[in-house]
């Protein structure tokens, strides 16, 4: 057995592994449970609201987020407990306006300025941010096990009225990783296998007519 055969067969194994992973990646995610069919609300100008409060997600069990509104909004998925995020925003406001009452504190903590300031000092918690739009429909799988809080933010001066639906979904494997590996394995396998495939075809004696 020559080195060319050994490398070629190894390449074929990589190629087949890549193809199997490719097959795994195209198997669609399965819906497990819908949290909030047809629920909706309104976000006042320059404020934000919690839409999904604490859900533990893994690279294989994610969520499908679907939000529609009358005006543009930003949607964030943060890797933090909702209560923790609330504590941060309240603390931020309290530090700057110590004389505010509890209800005023709560109202002020939902301001976009506070939100942006807290996010700026905790940038690593942002798992995903949508483009500013009035409609999103997105599958989301976190890269690691995460406690996810969903936030709908309204940076505009109009009231945003929205309807949303969040469905927990599960996939056979983390899509992003599987797709990346498929894209790596197939070309590497093909490059390693081609010389061997070519040599086996050349070596075959052709039948005389």
């Amino acid at each position: 057995m020559s080195w060319a055969t050994l490398i070629g067969r190894f390449g074929m194994v990589l190629l087949m592994t890549g193809l199997a992973l490719g097959l795994v990646s195209i198997i669609p995610s399965a819906q497990v449970r819908t949290y909030s069919e047809g629920m909706g609300g309104a976000v006042a100008p320059e404020t934000y609201e919690f839409s999904l409060q604490f859900s533990l997600l893994t690279p294989q069990s994610g969520i499908h987020i679907s939000v529609e509104s009358n005006s543009s909004f930003d949607f964030y998925l943060l890797n933090v407990f909702t209560s923790q995020f609330q504590n941060w925003t309240m603390a931020w406001v309290k530090e700057r306006f110590p004389n505010l009452q509890e209800y005023e504190l709560r109202w002020a903590s939902h301001n976009m300025t506070v939100f942006n300031a807290v996010l700026e000092s905790n940038q690593d918690i942002v798992l995903w941010k949508s483009k500013t739009t009035n409609k999103i429909s997105e599958d989301f799988f976190p890269p690691t096990v995460s406690n996810v809080t969903g936030i709908i933010a309204n940076p505009s001066l109009n009231v945003v009225e929205y309807k949303w639906e969040i469905t927990s979904i599960t996939s056979l494997a983390p899509k992003a990783r599987v797709v990346l590996l498929t894209q790596l394995l197939i070309p590497i396998g093909a490059v390693l296998a081609i010389p061997w495939v070519y040599s086996t075809r050349v070596r075959k004696p052709k039948l005389q007519q």
Binding site: V13, M16, A20, A30, V145, A173
Partner: protein, 272 residues
């Protein structure tokens, strides 16, 4: 001739025979697909936030279930059909004419039949772990390793029995059939033993644990003692960690004896 060269020549010829194109490629495809499909199905039933040793063990069990069956089929075909047919058809005489000790010929054949299949199996499993739960692999590497040892021991036991049978009977086909029957029989015996443990003594469970120690590790990690059943709730034996280790050690002791017997038989009593 260099000292190691005949060994590699026998090994290479065994490789060529055991993994003709596209056998290896098809098995790699099946291993990958089986691993990920079953891991995905297992995740449906996984408890949220379960990142303990139990999760690591249950992930090994679910990742390896279908690929283990494929692994057993591959090694049975390689050992029974490959080695058995070599003896039946007299090909082994050519291999024995190499300037090698008999046990080296058998080692080269087993390295190809068992070693490469094991490398492929473990490679795919580790790859799946890396893709699905790299943090679990890092944190609970010992648990993962122990679970694989337990899961693989029954496959090695069947391989050992089939090897000995193929050598004694000198017929590959028959050894292959016995191996397949044995694989399914072990599963059936496991169910019977579980049933018996609900109704009566723990002894069958302990005996079966020597043959299939993965069951003992399941019991250790699940910690399920009392089982409500038709016959009323009953305390069933839950092993301690040292007991689980002892049973895994005993299972590998049994496997070692079978392989040792095969080596002795091949070396002295093959009659070729």
């Amino acid at each position: 001739m260099e000292k190691g060269r005949p060994f590699f020549e026998v090994f290479a010829s065994a490789l060529k025979e055991n993994y003709r194109f596209p056998v290896l490629e098809i098995f790699a495809f099946l291993y990958t697909l089986g691993t990920f499909v079953l891991a995905g199905l297992a995740s449906l039933g996984a408890t949220y936030g379960q990142t303990s040793e139990t999760f690591a063990h249950s992930l090994v069990t679910s990742l390896s279930s279908l690929p283990l069956f494929i692994f057993v089929i591959l090694i049975l075909v390689n050992i029974a059909y490959g080695l058995g047919n070599d003896i039946e058809k007299g090909v082994i005489q050519t291999l024995l004419s190499y300037p090698l000790k008999r046990r080296s010929v058998l080692t080269a054949k087993l390295l190809s039949a068992l070693g490469i299949a094991l490398l492929l199996f473990l490679g795919m499993q580790m790859f799946a772990f890396f893709v699905l739960a790299p943090d679990v692999m890092r944190t609970y590497f010992g648990t993962v390793l122990l679970s694989y040892l337990a899961v693989l021991s029954s496959a090695f036991l069947i391989a050992g029995i089939v090897l000995l049978l193929a050598l004694v009977l000198k017929r590959g086909g028959l050894a292959l059939v016995v191996g397949i029957v044995l694989y399914f029989a072990l599963g059936i015996i496991g169910s019977v033993v579980a049933f018996l443990s609900w109704t009566g003594s723990d002894l069958p469970l302990r005996v079966y644990a020597v043959i299939s120690p993965s069951m003992i590790l399941d019991r250790y990690y699940s910690g399920a003692g009392a089982v409500p059943s038709f016959f009323g709730a009953r305390e069933i034996w839950v092993p301690s960690f040292s007991e689980a280790l002892l049973y895994i050690g005993a299972a590998y002791g049994l496997v070692s004896i079978l392989f040792l017997l095969s080596y002795v038989y091949f070396d002295r009593r093959l009659g070729i």
